[in-house]
């Protein structure tokens, strides 16, 4: 069961996190609670895996290079192939999706030769062709995501 403080911390601080020496104190002041309440509640949300982190969303391709990639893998081999791909430190997302192209992953690297070497290694390692779908344009302005927590 989430308290009002849990819900406020989940929804109201996804952007414009205070850039001050004591950001959690600033949040506490805004919510009329203590800094210890804020630290304690965020720690709970973190321990319960409701938040991934307090961090920054960085637009793609400003630091290093990345690409979305997909493969069509027979169902029976999917777990094995997925595990091989996840083992690469350059892979940061790896999902199954409902489609003939059923394995979707994002590879990131410091530069393009490194990225291409990783993709080539994955093709070699798994025996399946990788379709590269790098970002060409980003239309999304990220303002966070308003969660409906009425029944949470």
């Amino acid at each position: 069961m989430l308290t009002d403080l849990h819900k406020q911390l989940l929804n109201d601080f996804q952007r414009d996190f205070p850039l001050s020496a004591r950001p959690y104190q600033d949040i506490a002041d805004r919510l009329g609670v203590t800094e210890a309440d804020v630290l304690g509640t965020l720690t709970e949300l973190n321990d319960q895996h409701f938040i991934s982190r307090i961090g920054a969303i960085i637009p793609p391709n400003h630091i290093g290079v990345s690409t979305l990639a997909t493969m069509a893998v027979p169902e029976l081999q999917l777990q094995t192939v997925a595990d091989k791909i996840s083992a690469y430190p350059e892979i940061n997302h790896n999902y199954e999706r409902e489609h003939r192209f059923n394995l979707w992953f994002v590879a990131i690297a410091t530069d393009d030769p490194h990225l291409q070497a990783v993709i080539a290694a994955i093709e070699q390692d798994t025996g399946y062709r990788v379709l590269q779908l790098p970002l060409l344009d980003d239309f999304f302005i990220d303002l966070g995501f308003k969660l409906d927590l009425q029944h949470a």
Partner: protein
């Protein structure tokens, strides 16, 4: 592209701001950067759009958002930008990107929707189709099934171990 100190700082921020009274002092300590400089550089990076947002990054799935769909369309080139912008305006849309077409995969506009369940996502998609006039174009809906790996973008390869997959 970023200067070295900004890059080092962002690598620290990507690991997550610690939940303690002086988080900026703490991440600065790891890269020998004073707290005031950490704050100043983060403010400048936000200003320049090199940080899209700074704050709590939630995990949708444990909070009741169990369906995730990637929707792809095959649009005429001249419509990609205006429709991409229009799609991005919808509160339930999480990402909206243009990507190149391939022979086997003739789609060029991608968006992501997190919803409480599949039916909700399909209803939201219907609203998008109607508002943006998308019904005439080929599209595919790919719901996610298993998550094999997920973590924030880490550009210093090998800097952290893999995070878990619950979000």
């Amino acid at each position: 592209m970023l200067e070295t100190r900004d890059r080092e700082l962002l690598a620290q921020v990507q690991l997550g701001l610690p939940i303690c009274p002086r988080p900026y002092a703490e991440i600065g300590a790891d890269i020998a950067m004073p707290e005031a400089e950490v704050i100043e550089r983060l403010a400048a990076l936000k200003q320049k759009g090199l940080i899209k947002r700074l704050g709590v990054i939630v995990k949708h799935q444990p909070l009741g958002y169990r369906a995730n769909a990637m929707i792809v369309w095959n649009l005429p080139d001249e419509l990609i930008k205006p429709i991409g912008r229009q799609i991005s305006e919808f509160a339930f849309v999480n990402l909206c990107y243009q990507r190149p077409k391939h022979d086997e995969w003739p789609y060029n506009l991608y968006c992501m929707i997190h919803g409480k369940d599949k039916a909700t996502v399909l209803k939201q998609l219907e609203a998008l189709n109607e508002a943006c006039g998308l019904s005439a174009y080929d599209r595919e809906i790919l719901f996610s099934r298993r998550c094999f790996k997920q973590r924030g973008a880490i550009y210093q390869v090998g800097a952290v171990s893999n995070r878990d997959c619950r979000g």
